[in-house]
């Protein structure tokens, strides 16, 4: 039987060498060892699935409360803001006051990204 050689490829000594790799015969204990691990795996109790159906009402309720809270906060803020009029100096002062909060928010975001990255790396290394 001829190899499945594609006509569009040119074939040279590198092809000859790499296609003619020798067949490796699995060791005599390979089948038994693999089946042993499969049986161990089969004997192990299956992980308990997360009870989504039970948790669903709670998740929906929590989402609704958070959504409502956010909406109310925004609505109150907009209403309150309409009652104020700021001068340029007041706006500049408010900006200066908010600057530390911005830095804190930036630090929190950096921490979150760092945590996510470390989790990802740990997951790749098999620690998680």
């Amino acid at each position: 039987m001829k190899p499945n050689v594609k006509p569009e490829m040119d074939h040279d000594a590198i092809d000859r060498i790499l296609v003619a790799e020798e067949e490796l015969i699995p060791s005599s204990g390979f089948l038994a060892a693999t089946m042993e691990r499969v049986r161990e795996e089969a004997a192990r109790p299956k992980p308990i699935p997360f009870p989504w159906m039970r948790a669903l009402p709670g998740i929906v309720l929590a989402a609704a409360v958070l959504g409502w809270g956010g909406f109310e906060l925004a609505r109150t803020g907009v209403t309150a803001a309409r009652g104020f009029s700021f001068t340029q100096a007041e706006l500049a002062a408010a900006g200066r006051a908010l600057e530390p909060a911005g830095w804190v928010a930036l630090a929190l975001v950096a921490s979150l990204l760092s945590w996510l990255y470390s989790r990802r790396m740990a997951g790749r290394s098999g620690l998680l």
Partner: protein, 221 residues
């Protein structure tokens, strides 16, 4: 047969053997999978028995370490066992199994890379004058195979799978889960890097190709 031993033409039937596996065992694979999913754990042995050769050989091409190849192949079988329900019957069992195994081998080698030397440090084989010497030729061939391991990952895997699948780009792309065009491009680049590393192999190709490539494949096992 030991992986490092001499080439003797026996390998010519490897690809044919794998193809035969896929064609002849499709019904058996399907029946075994159904029985395993019905709870007959022992039936999985049939699947391991049929596919242990191809998977160990595929793993060997990824790492060129016999012990590790068997460990990786075993891990692939375990993942197959766990994910058997995930095999959609729209592709053959072998296609699914090879793709799963490639993922396992790739992630295993990301966690613990095989010990590779840089491509430029791989010893260049002796020139054409010594090519009639069997030992020199085997060493030369082994140097080329080791050089594959020194290729950058994105080019190494297409090269490994292309030759594992007996130079079938479509099969390699199915195993990698990438479009054929992408695999072809990476394969061309990988082969080009090998040719640059071993320039004299290109010179030999015209004189040796006709007498080495096809006749070797015809030698019965």
């Amino acid at each position: 047969m030991q992986p490092g031993s001499a080439g003797n033409g026996l390998t010519g039937s490897r690809g044919a053997l794998f193809e035969m596996h896929a064609a002849n065992s499709a019904a058996e694979d399907l029946a075994d999978v159904e029985r395993v999913l019905a709870g007959e754990v022992q039936t999985f042995e049939g699947i391991v028995r049929r596919w242990q050769g191809p998977l160990v050989n595929m793993a060997w091409r990824y790492c060129r370490d016999r012990g590790r190849a068997e460990e990786m192949a075993q891990e692939a079988f375990l993942r197959a066992w766990r994910g058997l329900e995930g095999w959609r019957r729209d592709s053959s069992f072998s296609t699914w199994l090879f793709a799963l195994a490639a993922n396992v081998f790739r992630s295993e080698l990301q966690r613990f890379p095989a010990v590779n030397v840089p491509l430029e440090d791989v010893a260049e084989p002796a020139g054409p004058a010594t090519q009639h010497d069997g030992l020199a030729e085997r060493q030369s061939d082994e140097a080329v195979r080791r050089a594959v391991m020194a290729l950058p990952t994105r080019y190494r895997e297409p090269v490994v799978l292309y030759y594992f699948h007996e130079m079938d780009v479509a099969a390699a792309s199915r195993t990698m889960g990438l479009p054929e065009g992408t695999v072809k491009a990476r394969l061309a680049r990988g082969r080009e890097m090998l040719r640059q590393r071993f320039p004299h192999l290109g010179e030999q190709s015209t004189s040796r190709l006709s007498s080495t490539l096809r006749p070797q494949k015809e030698v019965p096992q």
